[in-house]
Subunit: 106 residues, 2 copies
């Protein structure tokens, strides 16, 4: 029973991960932020084909799940920057393995 329980918890961990990082644009936003903080406009132009609404929704989803933080600066006009949290930075291994797989197979 113990082993079975362990497999179950091990299995549904993928579903838990996908709930957070499974969205269409999520990995591409995270990829961009692994290179450092970015503004909305920088993300929009770096991610091919994303609409402003889809990017806004993705950023809000990732903020709610503590993958990134949103920093507002009292400049004129005000500016906002997005950056990965420690939890978000921990995703870099998944991103790295994706790049390795794609380089060999895609």
């Amino acid at each position: 029973m113990e082993a079975e329980l362990q497999t179950q918890t091990y299995e549904c961990s993928i579903e838990k991960a996908l709930n957070v990082i499974g969205g269409k644009w999520t990995f591409l936003v995270i990829r961009e932020l692994t290179h450092g903080k970015k503004r909305f406009g920088e993300l929009k132009s770096a991610i091919h084909g994303v609409s402003s609404k889809a990017l806004t929704d993705t950023l809000r989803h990732l903020e709610v799940h503590d993958i990134l933080v949103r920093e507002a600066f009292a400049t004129v006009p005000p500016t906002v920057e997005y950056g990965l949290t420690v939890k978000g930075q921990a995703l870099h291994k998944i991103i790295h393995e994706m790049k390795m797989w794609a380089r060999e197979w895609a």
Copy 2:
């Protein structure tokens, strides 16, 4: 220029990977098949919440992209099994890193 080109190819490799493995149910199908060949019914009951149509579409998408193979057996009634190709099995590292991340953060 060389470094920039390299980053670009390195960057769009994620998009190429996501085109193949980015679907909502894709990772869950691949997770199941890493444990060995499965039939449609087995996949349907193992993947919480997937509809028959979504599973059919995901399996066809993964077959077209050479991630899995579909084997039909002339039993009565005929049976079909799905199994990962070498290209599909190479995804296990991504799956593993997702589980590790989820175990710590999700």
